[in-house]
Amino acid sequence: MAELDVEIVAADHFVWSGAATLVKARTSNGDIGVLPGHTPVLAVMEPGQLEITPVSGSKVLVDAEGGFFSVDKDRVVIVADNARLQDAATAGNR
């Protein structure tokens, strides 16, 4: 239970998935940080940057032009419009 299962998908391709300890995203109400054990949330994202801290390795930064994300039993699904990984080296980490 101590880690989040994160999946980031864009409309026509898969972006990133893996285990993480913290996910930061920008919603219309402000930034939200999701830690393991978070209550189920369905939120609309603003254009901006997502920050994911994986269990191992360096932080993953993703640019997204809006979208939404859902948190449900430590499973985070981020549906982003035109999402791009900022660091190509971490792509396909699974």
């Binding site: 939120a43 609309v44 859902s70 699904v77």
Partner: protein, 298 residues
Amino acid sequence: MGAQIRVYRQKIASTQSMGKIFKAMELIATSRIGKARSRMTASLPYANAITRAVSAAASQSEVDHPLTTEPEQVRRSAVLILSSDRGLAGAYSASVLKQAEGLTELLRDEGKEVKYYLVGRKALAYYDFRGREYAKVWTGGTDNPDFETAREIGATLLEDFATDFAEGGVDEIHVVYTRFQSMVVQEPVVTRLLPLEVVEGDAPADSSELLPLYEYEPEPEEVLDALLPRYIESRIFAAMLQAAASELAARQRAMKAAGDNATELVKKYTRLRNNARQAEITQELTEIVGGADALNAS
């Protein structure tokens, strides 16, 4: 050289060059199917995630969202038809259009007006030729659809959905497309996009697992506002990808059949040509022998 032989030679040459074209088109279609199918698979995670979220939001919240509530009276329906840009794909476009005709009849019987939205030049040609009206048409790239087009179609449909009936708006939206089941089976189907009939994914396997009770950020209405257009876009995009894969598969099969037929024809014409040549030789010989006999007899 006899006239008959020349005719057969010409037929063989033209059939052979057609056969080459069919073969090339078959190979092109085959090589593109793989890509179309992988795009179909690539769009699945998005579609699944969005369907799940919409299901959860629509089934749990007591929000009366215009997109989820059934109108009391449906007077006009929008029908989006996904056909192809090019022919030479067997009955692909014809069967989609036939399906659309069936749907139209059904809707008219229920006393609804039908407003068409077309995708692909084949559908456009069909409606233009019959002088029928349509609201909007998108052409180009049906065998390789991009998300921008899906977004545009979604936006247009939603806009008309939000418009009043009196001003030309629609009360429900149907999509006619070809579902890609396998390389050999593609089936034209009709789905209703709006009002929503949210179905949870394709896999009801873990139906025992309840959908989580979400908190909404910012408000349920706003979340639905943001979710539903995306859901519609993703459904349309998925339909377009299925249609593209089906089109390519249909084209591949049609071109294979055409190529096989060309080979058969070449074989048949070659026999006929040989026959004609042999007949000509025989005739010449009989003439010579006949002439010689006549000379000897005299």
